[in-house]
């Protein structure tokens, strides 16, 4: 371009730079130089203009700063970070890069308890630690709220763990008077893995979710298997509401048998998901998820109603009546309407409370012993039969027998399997049955699968058994074919 200009014997150049003014201040000037050249190429004449563009430059620099940096902490924002990481990945693609996403545990509580200003100071402290600890070309940003991200080169996974430990320790050196706990999700890419920055961040954030499942952990690494599980769960969550309205959840019933005379003396309601395209989905694939996301409330209540309908049907057919066990999730403990919901169902299907046996699990007592005690007391007084499911799987079984208002205990299958393998185990289970009887509780053995199980339970004077040895869980139509 310059050669063309010079060939025309005229040229113009512009430069923007800072000048020191007479009073010592520094201002930005745009200097435009117009050249006139001799045939030899030497400059004959220069006419120049100088214009103060300080305001223009400063506002543009300020705009640029606000575009690229977080105004509170002064660390790069996600846009700037993305640009920097893209450059890093392209220019430094011989190295492996780690993306680390981290946040402050219970940050909302810090804001609520100590005030927003303290929350801001915590974020600024994190920014200072990042500035100190992370060195170029490694880079970092504040993604949003209390979530930060670091991109760094690494040799081994051990490097990353050591860095996180060091960084965590540095964060803990503060004068706030409370602990700043942070949790980290890491995605490790190898040198051949040129991936979009946001995808790397997403994977690191996904890895961080794993920490929620393990309170002892502060750092988790991304793996594909975990991602598949999350994808599967999110598909289930997306479909669960529709599944309920379209009645894809089906009630299965597993009969309970009197061990002395072989009569059916009860049934347990179990949920199955008959998916229109995936076929029958087993409870293990959706119940734990529903227990986490709270949907279990809706599913339980749907199953309660299905059970009431079935009981009403049997009564109209003049069949023998027995209590049907339904699950009560830990969410219902906090749902103050549980009594009203059950009363409404009994009224709708013209049943007495004795028609339903409510199953709770032993582990529910760990966190909510008082709430649960009063709820159970009220339900028992209303006339419902109360069963403790999975008895023997917790660690407070005996204490619970003494204090909790229940009518039935169900011996956990695992407990039964383990005890039958040793003489000591047999003694424990025999005495548990005897003690429950002393306390006037009914004993139901779950997961009875072998003749050895049955013989042992009969010999130990267990009342009732349930398991594949007698019958698998079955849909209502099939259950109706049984003799009762």
């Amino acid at each position: 371009m310059y050669q063309t200009l010079f060939a025309e014997k005229r040229g113009e150049r512009t430069v923007i730079c800072r000048f020191v003014m007479k009073d010592g201040s520094i201002n930005w000037y745009r200097v435009v130089l117009q050249y006139e050249l001799l045939d030899t190429g030497a400059v004959e004449k220069v006419i120049g203009t100088m214009k103060d563009v300080s305001d223009e430059i400063r506002s543009s620099a300020a705009l640029q700063y606000h575009r690229d940096y977080d105004s509170l902490t002064g660390v790069p924002n996600i846009q700037r970070f993305t640009e920097e990481v893209n450059r890093l990945l392209i220019w430094d693609n011989g190295h492996k890069h780690a993306m680390i996403v981290f946040d402050v545990e219970r940050f909302k509580m810090i804001n609520d308890l100590y005030g927003m200003r303290t929350g801001d100071l915590v974020l600024m402290h994190i920014a200072d630690c990042l500035k100190e600890t992370v060195t170029a070309p490694d880079t970092y940003c504040r993604m949003h709220s209390d979530v930060f991200c670091i991109c760094m080169t690494y040799e081994t996974k051990g490097n990353i763990i050591r860095f996180i430990e060091k960084f965590k320790k540095r964060l803990e050196e503060n004068t706030f008077g409370f602990e700043i706990k942070t949790s980290y999700g890491v995605y490790l890419s190898d040198s051949s893995d040129l991936m979009e920055v946001n995808l790397m961040c997403d994977r690191a954030a996904l890895a961080k979710r794993r920490i929620k499942d393990n309170a002892m952990q502060f750092c988790a690494f991304y793996d594909e298997e975990y991602r598949n599980e999350i994808v599967k769960n999110s598909q289930i969550e997306a479909e669960m509401e529709r599944a309920l309205t379209e009645k894809q959840f089906v009630m299965y019933l597993q009969p309970k048998f009197n061990l002395e005379n072989g009569e059916i003396v009860g049934a347990e309601v179990l949920a199955r998901w008959k998916h229109p395209t995936k076929g029958m989905i087993q409870p293990d694939d959706f119940i734990p998820l529903f227990e986490r996301n709270g949907f279990i409330i809706k599913l339980d209540e749907y199953m309660w109603e299905e059970a009431c309908k079935a009981i009403q049907g049997w009564r109209k057919e003049g069949r023998r009546q027995f209590p049907v066990s339904v699950n009560v999730s830990r969410y219902h403990i906090f749902n103050r309407n549980i009594e009203q919901i059950l009363e409404r169902l009994l009224e709708k299907y013209e049943l007495t409370p004795g028609a339903l046996s409510l199953e709770i699990t032993e582990t529910m007592f760990f966190d909510n012993a008082d709430d649960l005690y009063y709820l159970l007391k009220r339900l028992q007084e209303m006339g419902f039969r109360l069963e403790v499911d999975d008895f023997g799987s917790g660690y407070s079984s005996l204490n619970m027998l003494r204090n909790v208002p229940v009518d039935v205990i169900k011996i956990d299958k695992g407990f039964l399997d383990d005890t039958l393998n040793s003489e000591k185990g047999k003694v424990v289970i025999r005495h548990t049955i005897a003690m429950a009887k002393e306390l006037q509780l009914q004993i139901i053995a779950e997961g009875v699968e072998t003749t050895e199980h049955v013989n042992f339970l009969r010999g130990s004077h267990c009342d009732v058994a349930q398991g594949y040895y007698f019958a698998k869980p079955m849909p209502l139509e099939e259950f109706n074919k049984l003799k009762f």
Binding site: Y2, Q3, F6, R13, T14, V15, I16, C17, R18, F19, V20, M21, K22, I26, V31, L33, L37, L38, G41, A42, V43, E44, K45, V46, I47, G48, T49, M50, K51, D52
Partner: protein, 83 residues
């Protein structure tokens, strides 16, 4: 006041109102001119070289960190070809 003087007065008024400094360096005749704002702002009366760093009087005006970016646009064609 003749036309020439009138034009010069208007010209000076315009550059002052626009807060723009104008200067001219004629290497062929040795004539140099800088509008009065230059002295007013920088305390230096005359510009002898458009590459400010080449003249002792103007070299100190360029902010140290911007020296290189200031010199580059002032390179002669011969120097540029050598880059």
């Amino acid at each position: 006041m003749d036309n020439h003087e009138c034009m010069e007065e208007m010209y000076l008024a315009a550059v002052r109102q626009l807060r723009t400094i104008v200067f001219e360096i004629n290497y062929a005749t040795g004539h140099t001119y800088a509008s009065p704002l230059f002295e007013e702002y920088f305390g230096v009366k005359t510009i002898y070289n458009e590459d400010f760093t080449k003249d002792e009087a103007t070299a100190g005006l360029v902010y140290r960190e911007d020296m290189f970016s200031c010199i580059r646009p002032c390179l002669r064609r011969s120097e540029e070809n050598g880059l």
